[in-house]
């Protein structure tokens, strides 16, 4: 401090007494961080969706197909407003099934592989955000959220293997970032907010770590990644799973075993599939072909319990005005 900062020592002493701020409660801090991250990830998701919408406008043909299918779906389920309204629903809410079907439709009709991969990763991220929202509301997330996330990631990885070298590497990098973000979100949720949720959160993290490991390996050895996945594509002729309306695939691997490890890439060892909350979702054939792909030919879940809808506290007011005197 310079000459201008001279202050009466008694006043300085009084001000100094405010300095020793109390230690922040680590649990409260972790909860606050978790809430902010959920808000941040949601905001990021929304922005990406809007970017994708702009692209749709450019690709008129693709857009027409997508819009037509959404209109049909919308009519089937009670109007396009319903489809739109379903987008923020959680697994515990009635319109969640429509959300899943509309997601499947988007993937199904997307012809650009790069956009399709981005869409798949966004949907995987949406599943983890749903887990976050439920956890913050004190509701244990249904296990099939993690399975769905894993399914989307695996599909994205398989598609990535079909891209040219430069695009493949760049896409793998993006997938890695997606996975790290999801893992970070899961980590933040393991702060004791919902002790019943811990096992499913941990298993999801294990799954994400396995996928991250696979992406790291792929970045280190792209050719091997390409060969493995292209072989899988040839042997399985896998159409992109759309959840509700796909033909059963010939090869799949359980989502997660009891330790959260995935049976991928030629490891035919059996694993225990992640527990299902409704038991009607999967045709997972643990047939040991070990392609690391969790094929989910499901009827969609709608599982879950409770009424959790907490998605952070994001109050949305503009920065408050400069206050005057109290």
């Amino acid at each position: 401090m310079n000459q201008d900062d001279k202050i009466d020592p008694r006043l300085a002493a009084l001000l100094d007494e405010l300095k020793p701020a109390s230690v922040r409660d680590p649990k409260a801090a972790a909860r606050a961080r978790s809430r902010f991250l959920t808000q941040a990830v949601s905001a990021s998701e929304e922005q990406r969706h809007s970017i994708w919408t702009i692209f749709q406008q450019k690709e008129k043909f693709a857009m027409n197909i997508i819009m037509s299918s959404l209109v049909v779906l919308g009519l089937l389920f009670g109007g396009s407003a319903t489809v739109s309204a379903a987008q923020d629903d959680l697994p515990t809410q009635p319109l969640y099934q429509i959300k899943l079907v509309s997601e499947d439709a988007k993937v199904w009709f997307e012809s650009d592989p790069t956009l399709k991969i981005e869409m798949l990763m966004e949907q995987a991220q949406t599943r983890t955000e749903e887990m976050a929202a439920l956890t913050l509301a004190g509701v244990t997330p249904p296990a099939d959220l993690a399975i769905r996330a894993q399914d989307r990631i695996q599909q994205a990885l398989q598609l990535t293997a079909t891209l040219d070298d430069a695009t493949m590497l760049a896409t793998l990098e993006r997938i890695r970032t997606h996975l790290q973000t999801q893992d970070q979100l899961m980590l933040q949720l393991q702060d004791g907010t919902c002790t019943e949720c811990e096992p499913i959160l941990q298993r999801t993290r294990d799954m994400l770590h396995t996928q991250l490991g696979q992406v790291e390996d792929s970045l280190a050895n792209p050719n091997q990644f390409r060969n493995q996945n292209q072989n899988q594509v040839r042997t399985t002729q896998t159409p992109l799973a759309t959840g509700s309306a796909v033909t059963p695939q010939t090869s799949c691997t359980p989502a997660l075993d009891g330790t959260g490890q995935q049976n991928g890439n030629g490891n035919p060892s059996a694993g225990t599939p992640m527990p299902q909350d409704n038991g009607n979702n999967q045709n997972n054939n643990d047939n040991g072909s070990g392609n690391g792909n969790m094929n989910e030919n499901n009827n969609d879940s709608g599982g879950g319990d409770g009424n959790g809808n907490g998605a952070g506290d994001g109050s949305a007011s503009d920065p408050g005005g400069q206050g005057g005197k109290p």
Partner: protein, 176 residues
Amino acid sequence: MISELDLLVQAQKLEPRALAEIYDLYSPRLYRYAVRLLGDACAAEDCVAETFSRFLQAVRGGRGPRDYLQAYLFRTAHNFVVDHYRHQKPEGILNDDTPDCENTEENASLNIRQQRVRFALAELTSEQQQVIALKFLEGWENDEIARVLNKPVGAVKSLQHRGLAHLQKILLDEEA
């Protein structure tokens, strides 16, 4: 290490990693600032949450800070503090955030003295409060404070001078 400006650029694209990094970087400092001025851990947590929520909203709406992220965040946090005092009568703000200490009597005495200083600070104008708090509690330099207030350094010095004089009048002349 990524610079504040780079972080801000990425945050404007709503990159979750950048937003998380910003949170980790500034949230402890904002909490400390808030708890010093509010004297209440819960209110300080609210302040931090509200500050980052407003920041996120601003970024989403394209109204976020273009530079000087730290200045923006502290300005927003201070608005919360001012609003907090504006909406609560002094007697309503009692510090229940007493740190664990064997000597509770001494603790209570400290608590009362702290509250007295907080109420005295709340008597100043918002800008004077910011200058005094950032300078003498957080140890900021005048140019950093000037960014928070969007004012020249000279104006900061002037605010500091008037603020200290007023504070002295409230706290010391009262004693005399």
